[in-house]
Symmetry: C2
Subunit: 195 residues, 2 copies
């Protein structure tokens, strides 16, 4: 039980609200009034609890990775590369078209192009996307070593291809594509999968 006046809001719920705002408007597009209003707190409370806008975004990003985007880790643990890819694609579609959330992917459109103020976050997102791609490549390398993928397949190329399709689908979702439409995209994309 901490000392001093108790915090009057649920810090996790507030973070969820902040995540929602960043998800919908991006890092630079989300203003502090937007955030504080959605979080139901005033500005000094935000700064006391989260640091500043950038730190708040990073915490929201962590929450995004562990929560909504958590399916990625499960996908990588599927027994076969094919199963992993299917789960990645269809799980990703469910995420970026979830009616309860803003459509699209925070890691893609949180800060894809921005002014100097957001450059640091832009790089952070790019490096997280790259990390995801690397994890997938490693999964494919393992699959090839296990005979799950043919010896002439290229894990790096496959990983980049799958990630490219996923990012493209995030753009599609942000533009209003439906879950059904994206599932057909995923099925088409899977036709490129090595036999």
């Amino acid at each position: 039980m901490p000392l001093g006046r108790p915090r009057a809001f649920d810090i996790d719920k507030a973070l969820d609200r902040a995540l929602d705002v960043f998800w919908r408007k991006g890092y630079e597009g989300a203003s502090l009034p937007d955030l504080t209003k959605a979080m139901g707190i005033n500005r000094p409370s935000l700064y006391a609890a989260f640091g500043n806008k950038e730190a708040l975004f990073r915490k929201a990003l962590d929450r995004y990775a562990e929560g909504p985007a958590g399916y990625v880790f499960e996908a990588l643990n599927e027994p076969t590369a094919r199963a992993a890819v299917e789960r990645l694609l269809f799980g990703g579609i469910d995420l970026v078209t979830d009616p309860r959330n803003p459509h699209g992917c925070l890691m893609v459109h949180g800060a894809l192009a921005c002014g100097e103020a957001g450059d640091c976050i832009r790089q952070e997102l790019a490096s997280r996307r790259a990390a995801g791609q690397t994890a997938l490549r490693k999964r494919f390398e393992r699959a090839r070593a296990e005979g799950d993928l043919p010896p002439d397949s290229n894990p790096a190329d496959l990983a980049r291809y799958i990630v490219t399709v996923m990012h493209g689908m995030a753009v599609q979702a942000a533009s209003g594509a439906s879950r059904k439409q994206l599932r057909r995209v995923a099925e088409t994309a899977l036709r490129a999968w090595p036999a």
Copy 2:
């Protein structure tokens, strides 16, 4: 020869500079000082010549569509659907990785997520992307009617798939992917093409 004091700058060159700034920073991320500095003019000249920031962006967008993105029209005029798709993919890669330009696609990351101020441009970009996808679908419908695509192929799905890959590659390019890497992505994507 127009009346009054002659304009001291080349309006087309200025627009090219503005396009470059928007391309690199996005609509909201590009500030007026960014723009005027790059264009080499001061603010009232910008407003007199282009209207306002939004009108300037729209003109830059038109220029983008006719100039750098002009390959799309040529691609759609290729004799076969397969040739059109290849030209679309590899031409798009050349565009989004052109060392002379900011990496990525203005129509994708010009305003993917933003505050209320940019919402109008966000919709404009989404509708232009949709228009491109529709044009591709029509091209595929024609191809199927001509026997160039198998009767059981789905033009709408194929168009959405190709556009998705292209948008994904734009994200990849904005994150630093090389031309060579994206060409391998395109080759992988083409394995999904109907025989």
